[in-house]
């Protein structure tokens, strides 16, 4: 992974009385696929617009290659954007949409033709040049928007929920394609989404945001396996969050029993939150488990069954490929590696 390309330093931004971003500190490296992930209204799009140049921060600095760019307008930044609803020019055909930026740079006809056809090939739209925007499907419009941005050879591509309007199957395909494109062109992608699966699939780095603040920055594995707080644990994937007590390093108690774990550094007898992922909980015969519970609900999800297990006043969500009848007594076990301990947060 390359060196720091973009840096946001202590950014604050409000619209009227509404504080949208507070204390944002973030750096983005060269050739990185970084995703800003969070629920709507968390400030992820505003962060993207600060980098694109469509808004400027109230306080703090945006640095590009070490240079402060707060006041540089969008048309003088080597950054291009794929807009949420594509924002393709309806009065131009596919070729002219893609050539828009090149024509402004006043490149020669041959070069424009050459670069447009190469980029159309990259997004798998060879031969679509003369087509009208209205005649394209959503997925094709999406590709035109990407081509229109990439053809300018920006150092950074900003993508604002670009797959939001596509159906599930197309989304999945485009996720893989986008990742491939990023590898092929070798530039930084900054991707905004509220879809955690999308973020985990594509990113090198995920930035989880909520309420205008960064909650956690890390690789998809880090974010999933070692969430910093309740928000991250609940937003990324499904999780059981149980109140427990850290007895000492590598030993935590919850549901009335002590478990060996791998976390430490909390101190002794400290209240903590314990995160158990539904797929990490093992079910067995009642005698074989560390805890005992009763199945209260079963839902078939395709690859697995999702079951609710009542255990000591907690309803644990458990995923398993083997179905247990509702009302059945089961044993519950969790390995030390599968237990994730977080500092206890004040009840919300």
């Amino acid at each position: 992974m390359g060196t720091k390309l973009i840096e946001l330093r202590n950014i604050e931004k409000s619209f009227g009385d509404h504080e949208v971003l507070s204390g944002i500190d973030l750096y983005i490296r060269e050739n990185e696929f970084i995703t800003l992930l969070g629920p709507s209204g968390c400030g992820k799009t505003t962060t993207l617009r600060l980098i694109g140049g469509f808004d400027s921060p109230d306080t703090g600095d945006v640095l590009f290659d070490g240079r402060r760019i707060n006041e540089i307008p969008p048309h003088r930044r080597s950054v291009n954007t794929v807009f949420q609803r594509y924002a393709l020019f309806p009065h131009l055909n596919v070729f002219e949409n893609v050539a828009f930026g090149l024509r402004i740079q006043k490149l020669s006809k041959e070069e424009i033709k050459d670069r447009v056809s190469r980029i159309l090939k990259l997004v798998d739209l060879t031969g679509f040049g003369p087509r009208h925007i209205d005649s394209l499907s959503g997925g094709q419009q999406q590709r035109v928007a990407i081509a229109r941005a990439l053809v300018n050879q920006p150092r950074v591509l900003l993508l604002d929920e670009p797959l939001g309007a596509l159906d599930m199957k197309l989304r999945r395909e485009m996720q893989i394609e986008l990742k491939n494109m990023q590898r092929q062109v070798g530039i930084t992608f900054i991707y905004v989404t509220h879809d955690q699966e999308e973020a985990l699939t594509m990113s090198d780095t995920v930035v989880v945001m909520n309420d205008g603040r960064i909650q956690q920055i890390g690789t998809p594995e880090d974010i999933y396996n070692e969430p910093n707080n309740r928000f991250v644990a609940q937003f990324i994937g499904k999780s059981n969050i149980i109140e427990g007590t850290m007895i000492r390093d590598k030993e935590v108690s919850f549901c009335g029993r002590a478990f060996p774990c791998v976390d430490g550094g909390f101190g002794e007898n400290v209240p903590v939150d314990v995160v158990l992922r539904p797929e990490d909980i093992e079910l067995s015969d009642p005698e074989g488990g560390q805890l005992q519970g009763v199945v209260s609900d079963v839902v078939f999800k395709g690859i697995h069954y999702e079951m609710l297990i009542d255990c000591q006043d907690h309803a644990l969500t458990v995923q398993s490929t083997r179905m247990r009848e509702p009302g059945k007594q089961v044993g519950i076990s969790v390995g030390p590696e599968e237990i994730h301990v977080m500092p206890r947060e004040a009840a919300l």
Binding site: H75, T81, H91, F100, I104
Partner: protein, 272 residues
């Protein structure tokens, strides 16, 4: 749809009685003279004296339309760029004069421009010689611009107001400066509004007879006055009808040209 289509009945009858039949009658009067089919009325029009009237009508209407466009487009852009409260106020100011009687508005210009009008009295007050402001082309064009300017501003405003802001951001993102954004995105996308505006100013301007009568004077002839004269003074209904048909063709042709620009999803939206 089918079940309620009878509700359009009253209008269809209205249209037949007061639009289709009168048009057919004009056509009949234009081509039938003394009981035989004849193009004499049309041939009569092909004289320099009448062609000059047509030419002048077209020229003045085009001039008024061009002035309305040059004044109206920036105005529409200005209004569309304001906040909602300011926008509504400005639109209101544009519309308030339209609530006043058309004749009254035109008479008002007579009291401004006349030999003893406000402007000349003000010039006299300053010790300057009086000017001939009335009864010329300038006064007629002024009257047209004044009366028809809102018809230019409103459709352009509507299109600009509805334009997707993200298109402008996209153009800036792709390297266009303000002038580039206007030339490559805003202007082309507002073509439907411009086309509606041009049609809605040009049509009444080319066929007006009140403005030319009041501000151009009794001897002043535009094609509208010519038609009026045939029916009311000369009593030559055949010739009057023929001129009307020619005017209809002129307007149809101009609408045909304009409608080529009105296509596209933004649509030429006319507020009336």
């Amino acid at each position: 749809m089918k079940k309620t289509s009878w509700l359009a009945g009253p209008y269809l009858i209205w249209m037949a009685l007061f639009i289709v039949i009168p048009l057919l009658m004009i056509l009949v009067y234009a081509v039938i003279q003394d009981g035989t089919v004849s193009l004499a009325a049309f041939l009569k029009f092909m004289q320099p004296v009448y062609l000059k009237v047509l030419g002048r009508s077209l020229w003045l209407a085009l001039l008024a339309t061009a002035i309305c466009l040059v004044m109206g487009y920036p105005a529409a852009m200005f209004i569309a760029g304001r906040e909602k409260a300011v926008r509504n106020l400005l639109l209101m100011l544009f519309l308030v004069p339209m609530w006043m009687n058309f004749l009254l508005r035109t008479y008002a210009w007579m009291t401004l421009l006349g030999n003893n009008g406000l402007i000349n009295r003000f010039l006299g007050f300053l010790g300057l010689p009086a000017m001939d402001l009335m009864y010329n082309d300038v006064a007629v064009v002024l009257g047209m611009v004044y009366n028809f300017l809102p018809f230019m501003v409103l459709p352009i405003y509507t299109v600009l107001h509805r334009m997707d802001r993200s298109l402008i951001e996209a153009a800036r993102d792709l390297g266009a400066n303000s002038a580039g954004v206007f030339a490559k995105v805003t202007l082309p996308l507002s073509m439907p509004g411009i086309a509606s505006g041009i049609t809605m100013v040009f049509m009444p301007a080319v066929s007006t007879f009140v403005i030319s009568r009041l501000l151009g004077g009794g001897q002043y002839m535009l094609i509208g006055n010519l038609v009026e004269q045939q029916f009311l003074v000369q009593g030559d209904w055949n010739f009057g009808s023929a001129i009307s048909m020619i005017l209809i063709v002129v307007i149809l042709v101009s609408m045909g040209i304009m409608s080529r620009f009105e296509k596209g999803e933004q649509g030429g939206v006319t507020p009336w």
